[in-house]
């Protein structure tokens, strides 16, 4: 066996064992919670047994000897000779940790590490001997690193046991010839690592076993066949003892289930997926390049081939992205253990509920949220949930509830951590913040609860009266926040004093390919991730000098009456600028970072594009202003701005409590008050209409010349697709239909609305403004297409019912895509 193979074997062993041990923890917890079945004990035992056997094969003596001691204990537990009580489970969990640590060391350093496990072994042996004085000799089994040892030992155990059910088992077990056991054991040993199917080994059973071991879902049936031999001999086995028939049929059924899962999925190396993702990224880039070029040719065959390429690339991209998706349950798996450990340590009773385990997100994100989530969960138990006595006093049930909930919403993943504990007292927070000089007294007085809660995310903030082992060291929530923001997410905290706390995390589905706005500054192009983008403002002609005002040299702009701090991108990045003085227009990109808005002044706003994010090399890791780089359609590299980093660099984000009026307004609208952000426009003459901005995908201005016709409807080519157009004024009763003058005679303003991957363009008249107002909707009109009226900016404005209009124009629009496209 050469070194590489040995290395590979060990790596495989580590991977499988870690997975196994994770399940081991879960099953132990299930056992503790009384949720155990006959299977639970078998599973627990089997996992350790496999670890022991394989480590023996690989000559990993430390792992083998430790797992051997553990196995001895588990045999007793499985056979009902010992009762699994809490302290035993704690020891077993420690045991699992020790094994996991050795695995980690094995994978990182190539050896088992030099931690001494004598104490742990002694503890395990004490548990074993203390409560089963019957067989003290068992704990000093010879340590031959062979797998054959197992069946004998098991037979011995089984025959010694006094449970009647097991007696019948022991008879079959004794009858079973030794040979098959051995070969099977060997098969297990080799099968683990042997990717090449052995030529002579063609029976489906053998196949199943090999795959079974590779596959988590299939594992239970195979290893069972090996280890708990009599109960689950595959059906070809001649005569199962009657007492086990019922069990067998149960496990048979399960086996069937498992098998179908196993066959429907394969295990793929993550690196392969990453490579595939990179390639798809390249494809998307080349596609962008080609699409850009092709639009210059008038060859319709080429055009349509290009269209197809476009579609296929998009679908491929989505497909590959999906393969990288993992259910969030993978992260949550370890929380039952965390919750158990923490609550035990604090003598609290906590029940963990999880909803939405199957919510998918990109695996890089899964990695990234692991630690923040763990921290929040610990915090919730430590600070949130009260002791049983306190809870009883407050009329709550003694057991606190911690709910983890995940769901998809608007292209993002929402994760909520909800506890029904004591909640946060905003006054206490403010007091603490004043004490720590994070805010002043006056600020504290002005601050609303929501802002007060946000204070917990400040560095150096902790309200825990005493520092515990778990949390309250003043580092924590701020780190949680930065980590989540690093991946383009946001954290929000809501709390009802005395009732509980909800922490809501929003993160994007994926990081690999994101929509971004391309801007130019000092003839360099930069990409700005669209998630940070609020709006674009363009100032022309005379406005330029008037609109930008200065406070002690710092430029600001009044955006709808509120001050927006301005940052010049070229100055911030210290890149030269030739024609600074003769600007006839200014482009402001309004961005949001850390709940605060600022305007970034750039020379030109180019377009939005799907970009593939590539990390910067380590030489450039220190630059907080950039999040990565990407390759543009023309093959040049463009840097991706890290909006948060840039804001920090520009000192837009400095300290808490100095939010501008603008931001507060933002916050309020986010907080779900009655304020709505509405897009104001006109259809026909002076017919003021409004629709919620949240329904608007994009705003576009098209030349009238580019309108084409498809059947009876008007369409335009838009971002490589055909966008059907709807003239809003044809669907609402406007008083003057005959004079359908829009803003400008050669262009039209279009609101793009998207749903289920389909888009439609609403042709409106003049787009007036975007306003934020609390609406008092009155239902004056009964006409279709309108959902009511309200007073906006002192004028009566009709509210457009977008979905109704689209449904009128295209009844098929809301029907699933597949059915409507032939």
């Amino acid at each position: 066996m050469n070194e590489d193979i040995q290395k590979q074997l060990v790596q495989d062993f580590v991977e499988e064992s870690l997975e196994g041990l994770e399940r081991f923890d879960q099953e132990l917890l299930a056992l503790e919670n009384g949720a155990s079945t006959g299977e639970t004990l078998n599973n627990i035992f089997r996992i350790i047994h496999t670890v022991k056997g394989t480590s023996g094969c690989l000559g990993l003596t430390k792992i083998e000897s430790l797992s051997h001691v553990g196995e001895n204990l588990l045999v007793k537990v499985r056979d009902g000779e010992l009762e699994a009580h809490q302290s035993m489970i704690t020891t077993l969990l420690t045991f699992s940790d020790a094994l996991q640590n050795m695995m980690a060391s094995l994978s990182n350093h190539g050896n088992e590490g030099d931690t001494d496990h004598t104490g742990l072994k002694a503890e395990l042996e004490r548990l074993l001997s203390a409560e089963s004085a019957t067989e003290p000799a068992k704990s000093v089994q010879p340590q031959e690193p062979t797998i054959q040892e197992k069946p004998q030992e098991q037979d011995e155990k089984v025959s010694e046991s006094k449970v009647p059910e097991d007696e019948s088992i022991s008879t079959t077990a004794a009858k079973a010839p030794d040979n098959p056991d051995d070969t099977k054991a060997q098969e297990q040993c080799w099968g683990l690592y042997d990717d090449e199917p052995e030529a002579e080994d063609t029976s489906s059973k053998a196949q199943e076993q090999r795959w079974g071991i590779f596959d988590e879902s299939g594992e239970s049936d195979t290893s069972k066949a090996i280890e708990s031999e009599p109960q689950s001999q595959p059906s070809e086995n001649s005569e199962p003892p009657i007492s086990t028939i019922k069990k067998e049929t149960d496990s048979e059924a399960k086996t069937q289930e498992n098998k179908s899962v196993a066959e429907g999925s394969i295990r793929v190396d993550v690196n392969h997926l990453d490579r595939l993702m990179n390639l798809v990224g390249e494809l998307v880039l080349s596609r962008n390049q080609i699409v850009q070029r092709v639009s210059n040719y008038e060859d319709s065959a080429l055009q349509s081939a290009c269209q197809r390429l476009n579609l296929i690339a998009t679908e491929l991209q989505e497909g590959v992205m999906k393969t990288r998706m993992q259910p969030i349950g993978n992260v949550w798996q370890k929380f039952p253990r965390v919750v158990r450990d923490v609550s035990l340590e604090l003598s609290k009773k906590v029940r963990l509920d999880m909803v939405g385990k199957e919510t998918d997100l990109d695996r890089t994100l899964i990695e990234a949220i692991k630690d923040p989530l763990t921290h929040i969960v610990r915090n919730a138990i430590d600070h949130g949930i009260e002791t049983p006595a306190e809870r009883a006093n407050n009329g709550k049930s003694e057991e606190g509830i911690l709910l983890l909930r995940a769901y998809h919403e608007g292209g993002q993943v929402n994760i909520e951590i909800i506890d029904d504990g004591k909640g946060i007292d905003p006054e206490k927070i403010k007091l603490k913040a004043v004490e720590k000089a994070l805010i002043s007294h006056e600020e504290a007085g002005r601050m609303n609860d929501r802002d007060a809660f946000a204070l917990v995310f400040q560095p150096g903030f902790s309200t825990a009266p005493k520092v515990t082992n778990l949390s309250g060291r003043g580092v924590g929530m701020d780190v949680v926040k930065t980590n989540i923001e690093k991946i383009g997410g946001s954290v929000d905290i809501q709390s009802e004093f005395g009732q509980g706390t909800t922490i809501k995390i929003k993160i994007p589905l994926t990081l690999a390919i994101i929509p971004a706005l391309i801007v130019t500054s000092a003839s360099e192009r930069f990409a700005i991730p669209q998630v940070s983008l609020l709006e674009l403002v363009r100032l022309d002609g005379d406005d330029v000098n008037k609109a930008i005002e200065f406070i002690d040299g710092t430029p600001v702009y009044r955006l709808r009456g509120n001050l927006l701090p301005l940052v010049y991108l070229n100055k911030e990045l210290k890149i030269d600028h030739e024609n600074e003085n003769d600007l006839d227009c200014v482009n402001i990109v309004v961005l949001k970072a850390d709940g605060r808005s600022f305007g970034l002044i750039v020379d030109e706003i180019n377009d939005t594009e799907e970009i593939v994010v590539k990390p910067l090399a380590k030489q450039l890791k220190g630059l907080q202003a950039f999040a990565g780089a990407t390759i543009m359609g023309d093959g040049h590299v463009a840097l991706i701005l890290d909006v948060l980093g840039l804001a920090q660099h520009a000192h837009v984000i400095t300290e808490v409590g100095s939010k501008s009026a603008f931001d507060n307004q933002e916050d309020r609208s986010n907080a779900g008050d009655d304020k709505h952000t509405m897009l104001l426009f006109e259809a026909g003459d002076n017919h003021r209409l409004a629709l919620p901005l949240s329904l608007v995908d994009r705003l576009e201005e098209f030349d009238k010349e580019i309108i084409e016709h498809s059947g009876e409807s008007e369409v335009v080519q838009y971002r490589g697709q055909i966008l059907p157009l709807i003239r809003v004024q044809n669907y609402v009763n406007t008083f003057s239909n005959e004079n359908s003058s829009t803003a400008n005679d050669d262009t039209m303003q279009v609101v793009v609305y998207s749903e289920n991957g389909r888009s439609v363009g609403l042709i409106v008249g003049n787009i007036k403004d975007i306003v934020e107002e609390s609406l008092e909707v009155k239902h004056l009109t009964s006409s279709r297409g309108l959902s009511g009226s309200a007073v906006i900016q002192d004028h009566v404005t009709d509210l457009l019912d977008v979905r109704d209009i689209i449904a009128q124009a295209d009844p098929d629009f809301f029907i699933e895509k597949n059915e409507s496209i032939v």
């Binding site: 880039l285 360099e524 090399a617 450039l620 890791k621 950039f626 590299v637 840097l639």
Partner: protein, 142 residues
């Protein structure tokens, strides 16, 4: 083990450098670069190498030598490193040459600090000295 080694060579000003062939991914003519604002000044820019983004390090700057004349365009020696490819900008590319380990010697103490730090050693060739660049240190500029 054979004591013959192969080096990919290049020139910086009048100095003759070599890096081990196994560390070199490829050698390229001048490529367009995107400069990185705020970056350390030895980082000259980013290159699109067939879809891979490669950081270009100005080796002259790295070795504290005077900058290139304006019209001279640097060449790229693209190195394989653990963190992906990194390009070294050099004046001119030489041949791949084979040298014998017997001719190796460490740089004398009198060589200036930066250069000594980045040069692993010298091969005494007949016509000139070949300086072996410590690539790991050379690309470590963070």
């Amino acid at each position: 083990m054979n004591d013959e080694r192969q080096f990919c060579t290049f020139y910086l000003k009048n100095l003759f450098f070599g890096v081990e062939v196994l560390n070199v991914q490829e050698v390229l003519r001048y490529q367009d670069m995107t400069r990185v604002p705020l970056a350390p000044d030895v980082v000259k820019g980013l290159i699109n190498l067939r879809g891979q983004i490669v950081t270009a390090i100005d080796l002259r700057k790295r070795l504290h030598m005077d900058p290139r004349e304006n019209e001279e365009l640097p060449m790229n020696v693209v190195l394989k490193t653990d963190e992906g490819a990194v390009s070294l900008l050099v004046d001119e590319i030489g041949d791949v040459i084979e040298v014998n380990d017997n001719n190796f010697e460490e740089p004398p103490e009198t060589v200036n600090n930066v250069t000594r730090e980045l040069v692993k050693g010298v091969y005494k060739l007949e016509e000139q000295l070949l300086l072996i660049l410590d690539t790991e240190k050379a690309v470590n500029v963070a």
